[in-house]
Symmetry: D2
Subunit: 147 residues, 4 copies
Amino acid sequence: MTLDPAVEKRCRESFARQRAMGSIGASVMSVGAGVCEIGMPFAPELTQQHGFVHAGVISMLADTACGFAALSLMPEDAAVLTTEFKINLLSPAKGERFVAVGRVVRPGKKLMVCLGEVFAEEGGRRKQIALMTASMMVMDTSTGLKD
Amino acid sequence: MTLDPAVEKRCRESFARQRAMGSIGASVMSVGAGVCEIGMPFAPELTQQHGFVHAGVISMLADTACGFAALSLMPEDAAVLTTEFKINLLSPAKGERFVAVGRVVRPGKKLMVCLGEVFAEEGGRRKQIALMTASMMVMDTSTGLKD
Amino acid sequence: MTLDPAVEKRCRESFARQRAMGSIGASVMSVGAGVCEIGMPFAPELTQQHGFVHAGVISMLADTACGFAALSLMPEDAAVLTTEFKINLLSPAKGERFVAVGRVVRPGKKLMVCLGEVFAEEGGRRKQIALMTASMMVMDTSTGLKD
Amino acid sequence: MTLDPAVEKRCRESFARQRAMGSIGASVMSVGAGVCEIGMPFAPELTQQHGFVHAGVISMLADTACGFAALSLMPEDAAVLTTEFKINLLSPAKGERFVAVGRVVRPGKKLMVCLGEVFAEEGGRRKQIALMTASMMVMDTSTGLKD
């Protein structure tokens, strides 16, 4: 589905305000209606004790991809907040680059349920390393939040 | 329960090799038999678009606290790997300091199930902001991993 | 905490309308403010292929205990609906009797987060066999639902 | 992928020993390599207080579909045991008939990660009502379990 350029702009600006994304070197690769792709190169400062990227960093990518997939379908005056997610770590996060794809599975008015997949890329090959399901709450502006 | 000093030393050394923990400013506050506490001060570079600490960073703290709680009960030649976790975000992560407490609920031989709680501290008050359940796999040394 | 008798009555009447609970032989043991206990004797028609009670039946108990724990804290004109839960199965469900305890961890206005624990009882001993976290949505009467 | 008829026979026999599946009126619709479909007609004795099928019953279907999807890829002397699952309930479970589809996403030697989807059918239309992720442990025969 094509996305209204204003919605894409809004998602990219909201992403730019996520300082945590800049800190891990992540960037938005694409945003569509109900879908978002986020990429991040490997960096040694993101690793756990065995040299793989920390599961929490992988979660950040997947959670953010799901959050923007959800935001792309929300009314202009709504903000998005993750209420819960679950991640299955399928393989250790080793690779040159990581890509998280978030998709809205159920675009509810109050809650959106998303599916996130994270892939590791190395030497031109891509392998799925994580699977997430997440709930995103649609917050109205009366909460003081804005996206 | 008191913990063998050798086990505590092993957990703290493994933590020190987690570069991601250093990157977010986290440190081990305590390790006991089946329990671990990790602390982290607020930092603006860890925030999402609304100025709260990113849910993925909160997950990193809880996942790591659970991982070391599990490692503290594992045989000396075993390594720990998270296979899955789920986190419910109870309140936005705002505060001066964040503390994650991980506890082993079921110390199995192959899988350990842990409960993680994350608290935000501000002005001397402490509020729970997240609840995690996690599965930690006991990896034997034949995998090449070591903790 | 003591519970208003009218609230307890409401929870017990709502439970009585859950035909699935009757079908598996479950009954409410207690309801308090934000907590509910549900019991069920073993029955061979609830088993999976190894003779243990099916994980889905254990989930039914825990989900229902969490749901009524949440309902006990909701306004009189609200209905409760589970939006998601996760269960870790700690040990096979064998025993004479099973007890699920649900507790509200975070009593939000729109979402309540609950922790559920299921125990197997055999020969006077009690063992925890499952751990659940669940999100319960507070539905208002405009949805047509009523509890 | 086509499935060895011996593997299909083994899955169907194991299913037939699941008395809980008979109790809710469920049956195997198909088993393939790493995929399984289970169907169940609506029945009033499976409902919760609002007249929808209980979330725990929907979980039973999805968990079982995931379990047999996993079993279809396991060695002949292995048994399957669910260690955890998480389910997002996308819409109330109302319909004439329910179908759960389980698929193996990651066929590990010790753990298999599965994705489960549940659909409600009514008047010839099909709507997804639930999304599950689950971990299935590969149990060897030394545990005394057999499938």
